[in-house]
């Protein structure tokens, strides 16, 4: 677990290294693009990374043990598999906040005084971490309870797997013990995260002496989403012209060719067709659930006293276990998988909202607005929500591929997508056993998912259409000055 955290931290650091460097040298205005690689990395399913690592590093290269759990060197591969996507996610969130920190007056003052960029960067990170801490906490718990597939691939006797097996075998004592342990862990981690946040920015929170972490200006609309979008659309459009269900067991696991541009799966079905047709099922459901989760996360996040304990408890439950619970309550209907995933998907968003809100409430401009006689509704509508919504929405987009994968994970309970539905998560799961013999069969859907992630994140900043490259520029408000006072862009 600690190792996975280290990997996650390293990944996160790598993700925001560029912003940090630019920020430290006060050249953030040059910043463009970026972020899509992180989004792609965050969209990579853990089990895919895990099986690729096990086969390539463990079996073929023989550098590290491919399975088991007996000592430090056994930790490396699972830690990588778990830490890479999580680190990319956290890094992307941090990267989202950093420009705001660098635009704060202290940074300007530090630069004026000639304080080295390194120190400024350190302080900027310190400034942003409290907003992420709850999510870091969630990640720690998720790592323990939800890493079932990775535990399976590396044969690690983890708590998540034990609990899940107990739930399936209806072994109540073990299930109770496991869930209790997870809830306790969640509570402790939650408390620690809160304590750490208090230590980091406590006094500032109390005195309402923070500045808003708004970006100095809205993110520059970019062309990259067009690129990703076109690519994705092209694949989907091409796929739609083909039959996703046509089986030809004789053409099993064919490598890409003219007849099958993305190769075939274990039953000889055309992968391009399956990806194309699966796009709708996957996108429709995942987007709906993400939107619902965003709404629920925001609403509950606005009520930290009510949602705090709820966040800690719900987070302790791995999604698959939640699926079992929902199925137990609501029966295995068509809406059950969506309900189950939505029941856990709001948690990180609510935690994020609460953390940002807490900081935002303590900013000087809120105090000023209050002083001018604004009531609570006005504050919420005009100041707080506009400040909190964009980063949380970007966070929700970043988690979109994760939602799609969580839906698939429910498949084995008989919930979620059922074969031969070409849902993307299901494609990944079906083809995973063949990852070594037919890498394209998993790479193709994984790339599609990664593209989706990158598209979602880059498009959040707006799209710059190639025809009128400067059309949006005029609408941008004047940067630095306005931002330091904290007006929303």
């Amino acid at each position: 677990m600690a190792a996975a955290l280290v990997v996650a931290a390293a990944t996160a650091a790598a993700v925001c290294a560029r912003t940090l460097w630019l920020g430290a040298h006060r050249r953030l205005d040059d910043r463009r693009g970026g972020g899509s690689l992180a989004a792609m990395l965050a969209a990579l399913p853990e089990f895919l990374t895990a099986s690729v690592l096990a086969v390539v590093v463990g079996v073929h290269l023989g550098w590290l043990p491919a399975l088991g759990w007996y000592g430090p060197q056994w930790m490396v591969l699972p830690a990588l598999a778990l830490g890479l996507p999580a680190g990319a996610l956290l890094g992307r969130m941090l990267d989202d906040l950093l420009p705001g920190a660098f635009a704060e007056p202290w940074a300007l003052a530090a630069a004026a005084r000639g304080i080295p960029g390194r120190a400024t960067a350190r302080q900027a990170v310190r400034r942003c971490i409290p907003g992420l801490l709850p999510n870091l906490g969630l990640f720690v718990v998720g790592l323990t309870g939800g890493a079932v597939t990775v535990e399976q691939i590396f044969d690690i006797p983890g708590l998540g797997r034990t609990t899940l097996q107990a739930a399936i075998a209806q072994d109540l004592p073990v299930l109770q013990a496991g869930t209790l342990a997870l809830v306790l862990l969640a509570a402790v981690t939650g408390a620690l995260a809160r304590l750490a946040a208090r230590l980091l920015i406590g006094p500032a929170l109390r005195d309402g002496a923070l500045h808003s972490l708004h970006r100095p200006k809205p993110p520059v609309p970019r062309r990259t989403p067009l690129l990703y979008g076109t690519l994705l659309l092209a694949v989907v459009a091409l796929g739609l012209t083909r039959d996703p269900l046509a089986l030809d067991t004789g053409a099993r696991l064919r490598s890409p060719s003219w007849a099958h541009p993305l190769g075939t799966d274990a039953l000889g079905r055309d992968l391009l067709a399956r990806i194309g047709h699966g796009a709708f099922t996957t996108l429709a459901l995942a987007v709906t659930i993400s939107a619902a989760a965003l709404l629920a996360g925001l609403l509950l996040g606005l009520l930290p006293r009510f949602s705090g304990p709820l966040v800690d408890t719900v987070n302790a439950i791995p999604p698959v276990l939640a699926g079992l619970l929902v199925a137990g309550v609501a029966g295995s209907g068509a809406a059950t998988p969506a309900l189950a995933v939505a029941a856990v998907a709001w948690v990180p968003l609510a935690a994020h909202t609460t953390a940002l809100l807490e900081q935002e409430r303590a900013t000087t401009h809120i105090t000023a607005t209050k002083g001018l006689g604004a009531d609570n509704t006005y504050l919420l509508r005009r100041e707080l929500l506009p400040a909190v919504l964009p980063p949380v929405a970007r966070h929700a987009l970043l988690r979109l591929p994760g939602v799609a994968l969580a839906l698939t994970a429910l498949g084995f309970l008989g919930l979620g997508a059922q074969p031969p539905d070409p849902e993307w998560g299901l494609l990944l799961a079906e083809n995973q056993p063949y990852a070594e013999r037919a890498p394209w069969a998993v790479l193709a859907p994984a790339t599609a998912l990664a593209l989706l992630g990158a598209l979602a994140v880059t498009a959040a900043g707006g799209v710059r259409w190639p025809r009128s490259p400067f059309a949006d520029g005029a609408r941008q408000p004047k940067p630095a000055v306005a931002a330091t006072v904290g007006e929303t862009g």
Binding site: G58, Q152, P157, P173, G178, Y434
Partner: protein, 497 residues
Amino acid sequence: MRPPRRRRVVAGLLLAPVLTGCFASNGETSDGKSADGSRLRVALAFPPAENFSPYGADATLLSRLGVTEGLTKLDANGVAAPALAESWTRENDRNWLFTLREATFQDGTDVTPATVAAALTEATEAEPVTAALSGIELTAKAKDDRQVRVTTEDPDPALPLRLTSPGLAILSAKAYGGKRVNPVGTATGPFEVTKVTGTTAATLDRFDGYWGGRAQASGIDAKFIADGSARTNALRTDQVDMAEAVPVSQAPTLDKGARRETATTRTTSLLLNTRTGAFKDPKLRAAAREAVDGSVLAKDVYEGYADAGVGIFGPAVTWAAGKRVEPTGRARAADADGTSITIATYDNRPELPEVAQVLQQQLQKAGFEVKLEVREYSRLESDALAGKFDAIVGARNSLLDTGDPVSIMASDFTCDGSYNLALLCDKKVDQAVAAAAKESDTVKRQQAAMNAEAAILGTDATVPLVHQKIITGVADSVQGVILDPYERTLVGTGTRR
């Protein structure tokens, strides 16, 4: 099945930090090779689910590792052969006299008629009753100092076959002392369990007092790795010497020499719900049977590691081929005409969802509208037995529980059957099975069993798809692995590396 609850909660709690933070202990207890024979490292597919209780699914684990034995065992031809019992005679319809050989339990006590009788009596009182005894009333009493008399309520000509079941293993008196039956150090096989690490590993040492001679390996380090790819990877990275049940998808990643395939008595079949839904109509069942082609499955889904379905008993049941009877009274196929059906299957055996998808296509071509339902097995069984699906694709080892071909047909295809997934209740079938159950002569019984098989196939309640071959991964250095078509043994006295 009756766990001491409080202790397990506490154990679970105590275990939690261990599982989250620390490492499992490495199963290696002794230093690899010694003059006394080296230890074998084995990766098994199914982790113990019931604390190694001999009455449930874990019984096979114990017999596979050479820990437990019964009075009799199955030989290669599917006939009962001597094990702890040297010989036996049938006194009359209901009484059998078993003569024990001189043997000792792993705790040092002798195998006596009294302990054997006590062990069998314990098995009859187990809750739920072990599969081999379902529907059977049995009493065992010591006769003199070498013999045990087993009496059945109803005549049971297959009793010696029944006693081959891993669920009827003989353990010493010490095993039955606690709240649950404990096979650790109380069995009679060539290896004894010395340590169990939860559901992840078990350590076994050679039992020097084994009546059949000393085993060549000095012990076994068994790991339970449920994930097929992980199990195969364990063999490929030389972490184990043998890996059981390599999935078809992983087989090509092993060297040719490491892949040992055995035809097993496990048959994958399409079971049609004869009680409710579309397949209540025998004509539609016939249509489904005609639409399905098992040879495609054997060739492509199982990549040749299977034979196309011929009956309930496949080629691994060696005597069956010569005695097979053509099914009679089959209905004439009707036009499916868009009848919509649901086929359920489980993903614990990774090939089954693929099989179901191929079947879906085959049936769609014949005019059915097919919906699939894939779940984890434990979430499927109760709905399946309640008749919620029109058809089920399942893999069943036809001789695993009792070794008796008749009893599996009785449990799976008769009105009173306890595992009747096809929900079949057919007078002719019941009569044929009952007739076979009465036969005591081996040859006659086998013939009667094949007649019953024909009667069952005649109803089209089951469509045999393929007879699976099991792939065992064996490292080059290992010799004497037992490749058992009944999947009951894996390691024997001659297995070594």
